[in-house]
């Protein structure tokens, strides 16, 4: 290979800058072409609350289909919805609620969604429960630092529905962009309480859950669908089928999700 700095005129750039750039570019290019071919990559846009379960499903799916490379794009369902509607590449969309999936389907960017899991809300508190939170009504306490997911994000909308149903006006100090961000602040002890999914509490070692009574809770349904604009329709179909299969369902159940 020719020396990268061969055509560089002296004194025009910091001496090391151009070769360094070229080396970086070559490394990047090598990483790109050295991996799998584009056909076998399955881009999965999944709700942040699926982070752990889908990481395990990714491993199991790739073990069963060695030629496939699942790439997870995790985020708030509404953010993923916007990305997909704006044409961001994705082969599969797994939403934490029906509403966001419906908007993608109505927008013509996904078809035939199927519910693959359900989830419920729980109040998460730091392990030592510094605010002494024992029930929903405690979230109305002004002296506590309380967080919810923002409206528009499924965990935020569900939390609002639960609070409305219970007639509680929460004294909210922050509306976090997704369930994971909210959980992190409860784990660190910066918030006294927040409403997240049962699965989030199960996945975390540094929060405790305060159950919301059956009658006051809502059930969140998680739909999954292949996108219509995806580059890998075959892979998308295979991944969706795997999530709905007995093996996929077992993994989801292990992470605290309910059956569809």
């Amino acid at each position: 290979m020719a020396p990268a700095g061969g055509r560089r005129r002296r004194g025009q750039l910091p001496r090391a800058a151009l070769p360094a750039f070229l080396v970086l570019a070559l490394v990047a290019a090598a990483c790109d072409s050295g991996g799998t071919t584009a056909e076998s990559v399955i881009l999965v846009s999944a709700a942040a609350s699926l982070t752990d379960a889908f990481a395990e499903i990714e491993g199991a799916f790739e073990a069963a289909n060695p030629e496939a490379d699942v790439v997870l794009n995790l985020g708030g369902s509404s953010v993923l919805r916007e990305q997909i509607l704006e044409g961001a590449p994705a082969d599969v969309f797994a939403s934490a609620d029906i509403a966001n999936m419906d908007r993608v389907v109505v927008g013509g960017a996904a078809s035939q969604p199927q519910v693959f899991a359900t989830n419920r809300l729980e109040i998460a508190v730091p392990l030592d429960n510094p605010g002494g939170v024992t029930e929903l009504a405690d979230l109305a306490d002004e002296s506590l630092l309380v967080g919810l997911c923002a409206s528009g994000v499924p965990c935020g909308d569900f939390a609002q529905a639960v609070l409305d149903q219970a007639g509680v006006t929460a004294a909210v100090d922050t509306f976090e962009p997704n369930a994971r961000a909210l959980l992190t602040k409860i784990e660190s002890g910066d918030l006294d309480a927040g409403m997240v999914y049962v699965t989030d509490v199960a996945a975390s070692e540094s929060v405790a859950g305060v159950e919301i009574p059956e009658g006051a809770n809502v059930t969140a349904a998680y739909p999954i669908a292949p996108t219509t604009g995806g580059a890998n329709t075959e892979g998308a179909a295979a991944f969706v089928a795997f999530v709905l299969s007995a093996e996929g369902q077992t993994i989801l159940a292990r992470h605290g999700f309910g059956a569809p």
Binding site: G76, S78, V79, E82, L145, G147, A150, S151, G152, V153, V172, D173, T174, F175, E176, P177, A181, T184, K185, S188, G189, D190
Partner: protein, 270 residues
């Protein structure tokens, strides 16, 4: 004859065609997103959207946070730049690196680090909370701190660079005429670096206005208390795209106005 001379100079000073083409591509990087924003703007609903309470609250907080961060940066950032430029101490290059860190570290990481340090269970935050009951996260102060962390490096590097390029003979002359250190600083040093100081303050303010990641991570997101314009845009994108676009448009108009007007004032183009 002078006309010809100007003509010749104009011709030779104009960059080659390839440079012009690349410059246009460079410009496109900035203009394309703006075109996208304008194309999505719901013009007829705009007056209604702009008078929403969430917009006024976010605008107010953004001004408080960005001006607060700029003021704090001026008070502690300029002295830091002076020390870095003028005091030779061991580990100076490490300190310089620390100052630049917020430019490299993703703001979200910076916000998390602030939370670990100043949060209610943080290294400094916990004793502070126990002694005073003060909780910085989820407060407007938290927004100002997060914003300062991200924006102050722009002031420090600009001012330090100017100080290092300053001819020390002017200060030497003032001192030899009997001026004390404060007088030299106030009457000679600072006036001489005034353009760079102004540029640094402007950059700091601009960065502070656009701050998002460190703010939402450290200070949280609550309308009227911690929700600045960028946070409001982010949240509105989830549920109400028209409001998000309107908010973005305000940010673009404010920043463009300030940047153009102040730039013309401080570095008038011929």
């Amino acid at each position: 004859m002078t006309d010809r001379a100007t003509e010749v100079r104009r011709k030779t000073s104009r960059p080659p065609a390839l440079v012009m083409v690349l410059a246009l591509l460079g410009l496109a990087v900035f203009v394309v997103p703006l075109v996208g924003l304008l194309a999505r703007t719901p013009w007829q609903d705009l007056p209604e959207l702009l008078t929403e309470e969430v917009v006024a609250d976010a605008l107010r907080l953004s001004l408080i946070a960005s001006l607060g961060a700029t003021a704090i940066s001026a008070v502690v950032g300029v002295p830091l730049a002076l020390v870095l430029a003028r005091v030779d101490f061991p580990g100076r290059s490490i300190v310089r690196g620390l100052v630049l860190l917020p430019l490299v570290v993703p703001p979200v990481v910076g916000g998390a680090a602030l939370l670990f340090a100043l949060g209610r269970r943080g290294v400094i935050g916990e004793p502070l909370y126990e002694a005073t009951g003060l909780v910085l996260p989820f407060s407007t102060w938290g927004v100002v701190i997060a914003t300062t962390f991200v924006a102050m490096p722009f002031l420090v590097i600009t001012v330090e660079g100017a100080l290092r390029n300053l001819d020390p003979r002017f200060e030497g002359a003032a001192a030899s005429l009997g001026a004390g250190r404060w007088t030299v600083l106030r009457r000679v040093t600072l006036p001489m670096i005034a353009p760079s100081l102004a540029a640094g303050l402007l950059l700091t303010w601009a960065r502070a206005l656009g701050e998002f990641g460190a703010t939402i991570t450290f200070a949280g997101n609550l309308q009227g208390r911690t929700q600045t314009m960028p946070l409001a845009v982010f949240v509105a994108l989830e549920s109400d795209r028209d409001t998000a676009v309107a908010l973005s448009l305000i940010m673009v108009v404010i920043s463009l106005t300030v940047l153009v007007v102040l730039r013309e004032r401080w570095w008038p183009s011929r």
